[in-house]
């Protein structure tokens, strides 16, 4: 016997969480685009998505984050450090790949110098994932050794019931257990079978890819030029990536007042690494694409023991020129050796 949450109890569930002090976020359709947004009732949620177009990352590492508010006076400059809103949040209906993305980024924001902006949000959030019942041609979690039912980064994991009436519920962290304690009367014992997990074919041989990337002579291979010719350097793949974490720090304001902000940046942009002198270590699209792949599947692993990719496939799904990580890694995997 396991516990289930029925779909028709979802409104009560949201209300119970709100009563317990949580704001509830779930996949929603807004402005012709799907993303995570705050919901008040079950009907606000978009359940039919394989994956929202934008990632959950937006709510932990927002596109723009105010760091310091400053005022420039005649006699002095006043500045005030800004902190993210201190509110408890439940993220409901997160896909396992998005939840994994958060777990993948934790060590980066935590090594040595702790990024308070990231961790304050992480510490106040509970992640409720829903195991996938559908995958599309771009899904590639299995290729990076994750799966549609991975519990990485999750606090509570829901498995859809085969009859569509609700979800089997399982707490996979202490935080998850605590969240379920706020809704005891809404859960019931049941042994209803769960829906089958989709088969996601492995699209490349990750071991082979990592081995090729680790080989020094391949750093200057013609391969990088050939594979990245189509890239227009728009940065979409980095912004839609659940693990891409690069940022810029900019002062925005007028002569007398403004805000220092941490804004999303992208390794696809030439200005990203441009020195004031004009020297640019990564001055072509191919060297920037190489950086992106090497960072995700070689450098990051060397530092934190994990690849910086959770296999959501957004980089390929939403690329305006039909490129993406999958194609590159497939090509590497298929190189003669």
């Amino acid at each position: 016997m396991t516990r289930i949450l029925l779909r028709n109890k979802l409104d009560d569930c949201i209300a119970a969480w709100q009563k317990a002090g949580f704001s509830v976020f779930a996949p929603v359709r807004q402005h012709e685009m799907s993303s995570f947004g705050e919901v008040q009732k079950a009907s606000d949620m978009a359940f039919d998505l394989v994956l929202p177009e934008r990632t959950i990352k937006d709510h932990f590492f927002p596109q723009t984050e105010p760091l310091i508010k400053y005022k420039i006076g005649k006699q002095q400059i006043d500045s005030e450090t800004m902190t993210p809103p201190d509110r408890k949040r439940v993220f409901f209906g997160v896909r396992p790949c998005d939840a994994s993305g958060l777990a993948i980024d934790d060590p980066l924001f935590g090594w040595d110098y702790k990024d308070d902006y990231w961790f304050r949000r992480r510490d106040n959030s509970v992640i409720v994932t829903i195991v996938c019942t559908e995958a599309d041609d771009f899904c590639m979690c299995t290729s990076v050794k994750l799966s549609p039912e991975s519990d990485k980064g999750a606090d509570v994991m829901l498995r859809p019931l085969a009859n569509g009436a609700g979800w089997q519920v399982e707490a996979v962290s202490e935080r998850g257990t605590a969240l379920l304690e706020t809704i005891p009367s809404l859960l019931q014992e049941n042994s209803e079978p769960t829906a089958p997990v989709p088969q996601v074919a492995e699209k490349f041989d990750l071991e082979k890819v990592m081995e090729w990337l680790a080989s020094k002579e391949n750093f200057e291979s013609q391969f990088w030029k050939d594979i990245s010719l189509r890239c227009v350097g728009c940065g979409s793949c980095t912004f839609l990536c659940p693990t891409c974490h690069c940022f810029d720090i900019q002062d925005e304001g007028d002569t007398y007042a403004g805000i220092r902000r941490k804004n999303w940046d992208s390794c696809s942009f030439s200005l990203f690494t441009m020195h004031t002198s004009g020297h640019n270590p990564r001055n072509t699209q191919s060297t920037r694409w190489r950086q992106r792949i090497m960072h995700k599947f070689n450098y990051y692993r060397g530092k934190f023991g994990v690849n910086s990719c959770s296999g959501c496939g957004r980089c390929t799904r939403q690329c305006p020129v039909d490129m993406g990580i999958t194609e590159t890694l497939q090509a590497i995997s298929n190189l003669p050796r």
Binding site: Y113, F272, M274, N298
Partner: protein
């Protein structure tokens, strides 16, 4: 909070060369100063800023033996440096740091020291030089080879005079051909050539080399000819940075983050990096 800088008061501004200034900064808050005193070691860097313009990364040019203040020397080139160049004594700027690793000068004890710098790269070298000269008894022979494009481009002219007068320092000064003035009495020639002529012994010697990439490239060849091994040559790298603490993702050369694992490396470590990413 991370990314929150220390307010710093400008004590003085000194013009070094055309477009190059040194700011001497003191801490506004005692707790910030305490933090700096406990953590600063020669070779580390900081992000110097001014609200409304942003932050720029450069080394701490003052030595670890003098921690009552911070000196930074920079060329006026972008938005932040142009604003910093126009501050006056008493103005408030910001400092974030000290970040990165350091020159392991306690490992240099009992050895000869050879400092080689080109142009605006004397500031990071000067931090190590004074850190060692302030405890002169710990080190053997000290040689400083410094060159700039022209006589006007030499920085820290007062200190060059001071080093020249000391009998426990050998100073070799040079300017590029064409950069000399009628009354110039030191060398004329590029740093690698002048270094080879000066021929410091590699025996029990540590070299600290800072300069523009092209100078580093040819000076390393000269050092090799003189018999120096890459393990005994130290240098400091720079790349564009925003966070300074290993998160913003841009300063890496291959897998090496300049801000965290550097900026100080041995020439052997630099040679192990993918050269196409430098």
């Amino acid at each position: 909070m991370i990314y929150s800088p220390f307010p710093m008061r400008v004590v003085s501004k000194r013009a070094e060369a055309p477009g190059v200034n040194t700011l001497k900064l003191e801490f506004v808050k005692e707790e910030d100063h305490e933090f700096f005193k406990q953590n600063y070691k020669t070779g580390m860097f900081g992000l110097y800023g001014i609200f409304g313009e942003g932050e720029s990364t450069f080394c701490v040019a003052s030595p670890e033996t003098r921690k009552d203040y911070i000196e930074c020397t920079f060329r006026q080139s972008g938005r932040v440096t142009s604003t910093l160049a126009n501050v006056d004594a008493g103005d408030i700027v910001t400092f974030r740091g000290p970040y990165g690793n350091r020159f392991p000068i306690e490992q240099f004890e009992g050895k000869n020291l050879l400092f080689i710098a080109g142009g605006i790269a004397l500031p990071p070298t000067r931090s190590v030089i004074w850190s060692c000269l302030d405890q002169r008894e710990k080190y053997k022979d000290v040689t400083i080879v410094y060159g700039a494009r022209t006589v006007a481009d030499l920085v820290y002219k007062d200190e060059l005079d001071e080093w020249k007068k000391r009998d426990d320092v050998r100073l070799v000064l040079t300017v590029d051909p064409g950069g000399e003035t009628p009354d110039w009495q030191d060398h004329v020639g590029f740093v690698p050539t002048v270094l080879e002529q000066a021929a410091p012994s590699p025996e029990n010697t540590i070299a600290v080399l800072c300069g523009p990439p092209i100078m580093i490239k040819f000076t390393l060849v000269a050092l090799q000819k003189l018999g120096f091994t890459a393990e005994n040559v130290y240098t400091t790298l720079e790349n564009r940075m925003k966070c300074g603490v290993g998160k913003c993702g841009r300063c890496n050369v291959g897998s090496v983050y300049i801000c965290k694992e550097g900026p100080v490396f041995t020439a052997a470590e630099v040679q192990a990096m993918p050269q196409a990413d430098l």
